[in-house]
């Protein structure tokens, strides 16, 4: 069993890239792998607490909490990206950590596989 690091970058809320990344994490963990999850740029918004569930947006908080509960899932948001968007530490969803970008590189260092979702 291995470790997968997934980085999601400037992906939009309202696109399905974040949903993709969360579903892939779930599938990997069910197969016994560990997953590290990094969000940067606009994807940082996934870590914001208090997102209201609407039918036009996938609500990922519940799924993320299930993933944290497995003990095989770590998720970290880019601290500067969050602050630039007006998110403070206390605005962060339970379970998430905030670090600088070197956390992501360190996670990649020890990962068997990296899926970096960049671009828009």
């Amino acid at each position: 069993m291995g470790k997968l690091t997934i980085g999601v970058f400037s992906s939009l809320v309202g696109s399905l890239s974040l949903d993709f990344a969360v579903k892939l994490s779930e599938a990997a963990i069910k197969k016994g792998h560990k997953v590290d999850f990094w969000v940067s740029g606009n994807a940082t918004m996934l870590s914001k607490k208090g997102q209201r569930a609407f039918k036009d947006y996938s609500a990922l908080e519940k799924k993320l909490q299930e993933l944290f509960a497995t003990g095989n899932f770590q998720a970290t948001a880019c601290e500067a990206c969050a602050e630039a968007r007006g998110y403070r530490k206390e605005d962060t969803m339970d379970g998430w950590k905030r670090h600088s970008m070197d956390w992501y590189l360190a996670s990649c260092f020890s990962a068997d596989k990296v899926l970096h979702i960049g671009g828009d």
């Binding site: 970058f9 070197d102 590189l105 260092f109 671009g119 828009d120």
Partner: protein, 137 residues
């Protein structure tokens, strides 16, 4: 004790999205990654600009004057100042008809010694081949 190589491959245009900016800031974060690693372990980043991404490497970007944001030029120079390997795809530079003196080839003005390299795509492909992980932006 290991060094792992990561290739940061930039194919996006600057300014429209954050992609190329995040490529540079994350590549530069390799300078501080050691705090998370075992003694002797390290990350070696390679930055490669391909396709439309080579347009990030044009000189004279005035983003600070016009919009009050750091230019990609500044980030690329910072990378060179920190001795990161910066590769610019030769075929794409030629396709766009860009001369070398229009490109950010060094960071001499801020005291950098390392130069950017214009190389064939096949060289960039070799870097990808020998990298542990690939990060496309």
């Amino acid at each position: 004790m290991a060094t792992k190589k990561f290739a940061f491959v930039v194919k996006s245009l600057p300014y429209k999205t954050e992609a190329s900016r995040l490529a540079l800031t994350h590549a530069i974060a390799s300078q501080t990654v050691e705090i998370y690693l075992e003694d002797g372990d390290n990350v070696e980043p390679v930055l490669a600009f391909i396709g439309d991404g080579v347009l990030n490497c044009l000189r004279n970007q005035k983003a600070m004057n016009t919009y009050g944001v750091t230019s990609l030029e500044q980030h690329i120079k910072n990378s060179l100042l920190l001795d990161l390997k910066v590769l610019i795809c030769k075929e794409d530079v030629e396709k766009f008809g860009i001369s070398e003196d229009a490109l950010i080839m060094d960071a001499e003005d801020i005291g950098g010694e390392t130069r950017a390299n214009i190389v064939a795509f096949s060289e960039i492909m070799k870097e990808m081949d020998s990298s542990n992980h690939l990060l496309f932006f």
